[in-house]
């Protein structure tokens, strides 16, 4: 039995995954399964996403075509999913300038 917060998170994640497929121009489906898993099927790939088991220092377990991986956040999960769908995907890692903005 999931907590209300967990349910809310899974609903939000499923919605994000659906709009992400559209953004990435992939056809596919996103569905929630009964025990809290989210299944993404796109371009012949099947991805199962579940909360990682307690005690594991990652938040998400992602099984892509039978191979399990982990991610520490929603943004990490997205990166992993897209990498499986787009072999040419190269994330542009964020860079933060060490200075404050100068208001001229």
């Amino acid at each position: 039995m999931n907590s209300p917060e967990t349910d809310q998170m899974l609903v939000a994640l499923a919605r994000l995954l659906t709009s992400s497929l559209a953004l990435w121009k992939h056809r596919g489906t996103v569905r929630r399964e009964t025990r809290g898993a989210i299944v993404v099927e796109a371009d012949g790939h099947v991805t199962h996403i579940v909360r990682a088991a307690p005690g594991i220092p990652f938040r998400w377990s992602i099984t892509i075509d039978g191979r399990e991986r982990v991610a520490g956040s929603v943004s990490g999960l997205l990166r992993m999913l897209r990498s499986s769908l787009d072999p040419d995907f190269r994330p542009s890692r964020v860079r933060i300038a060490p200075i404050e903005i100068t208001l001229l």
């Binding site: 943004s75 890692r93 300038a97 200075i99 404050e100 903005i101 001229l104």
Partner: protein, 322 residues
């Protein structure tokens, strides 16, 4: 910090005329100038009077593509020479881009130099638009659309040759309703009006939500009443850099951070490079909503909203487990 002002605009739109006029102002006496021309022989250099030692001409190609590395090296070299005393202690750099330049890689290069701690910061982006040919140019040339979209200040030139067309004004307003538009003849504008106004102030963030203008450049406004966790903002920027970074011409915003609700954070980024937030002492108006403005190609407002919602929900769930 040394501000780098970017002067851009399509071919023949009056950039060099404007720059030549500005450099006659005593207010720009301590200015280093970088001019980029597309072509093997530079001409603009001869049309602008400036101290040779602080003047660099890049004529090996278009600044935004083939010689971006040259730009970074040039800026770094200028800073080093300034520190070594071999050039005058300039207080500003002005880059005149090639008329064919996509501004995003140039802004990215400037901010990347900031990341490397070279002591520069992105100043204002000034874009010239030709009143005679501007509307046609905007219809035909995607680069000109990007130049207008990212501007902090738009300069309408050649209004002595043609009355500003209502269609042009509408097109400019649709592309960039935030930037002030000045009609300028022969570059005749006060340098203070152009260069020293506040470039990234929160008051800039007045745009119609969801404003979309064509298939090329879009401007998206995200507004949230609920304060944003600092970690949500970090993860949001990370995901934006990952998935739309190359297409993100500019991002600017004022953010109500949940952990510091009385001091709004101003954020600013180009592609995947972001400045560290500036914390204002107080909210500039009664509006305490978070407002993010994203300008770029291929952006999707629903995706960004879903992304924020999912990150927020993840962090909310995490806090219940703590």
């Amino acid at each position: 910090m040394i501000p780098v002002t970017v002067l851009t605009g399509f071919l023949g739109s009056g950039k060099t005329t404007l720059l030549a006029h500005l450099l006659k102002s005593p207010k720009l006496a301590r200015t280093a100038v970088i001019i980029n021309e597309f072509g093997a022989v530079g001409i603009d250099h001869d049309l602008v009077e400036a101290g040779e030692e602080s003047f660099v001409q890049l004529e090996t190609g278009c600044l935004c593509c083939s010689i971006r590395g040259d730009l970074e090296a040039t800026i770094a070299d200028l800073i080093a020479r300034r520190a070594g005393g071999t050039v005058p202690p300039f207080e500003r750099i002005v880059i005149e881009t090639s008329g064919l330049a996509d501004p995003a890689p140039i802004l990215n290069a400037i901010m990347s130099e900031g990341v490397r701690g070279s002591g520069i910061t992105l100043g204002r982006i000034v874009t010239t638009v030709d009143a005679v040919n501007g509307l046609t140019t905007l219809a035909r040339e995607p680069q000109s659309v990007r130049q207008v979209a990212v501007a902090d200040h738009l300069i309408l030139t050649k209004t002595d040759l043609a009355d500003p067309d209502a269609g042009l004004a509408a097109r400019i307003a649709a592309l960039n309703g935030r930037a002030p538009v000045s009609e300028v003849l022969f570059g005749n504008i006060d340098a203070d009006d152009l260069l020293d106004a506040v470039p990234h102030a929160p008051d800039d963030l007045h745009l119609d939500a969801g404003h979309v203008h064509g298939e090329d450049v879009q401007c998206i406004v995200i507004r949230r009443e609920q304060p944003v966790r600092a970690l949500t903002l970090t993860l949001l920027l990370e995901a934006l850099a990952d998935h739309v970074g190359p297409e993100l011409l500019r991002l600017k915003g004022i953010v109500n951070i949940a952990e510091r609700p009385d001091r709004p954070a101003v954020i600013h980024g180009v592609q995947h490079v972001f400045h560290a937030p500036t914390w204002l002492d107080k909210w500039p108006s009664a509006d305490r909503n978070t407002r993010l403005v994203l300008i770029g190609r291929g952006l999707a407002k629903p995706w960004i909203e879903d992304l924020i919602a999912a990150i927020d929900a993840e962090l909310a769930e995490l806090s219940t487990r703590a």
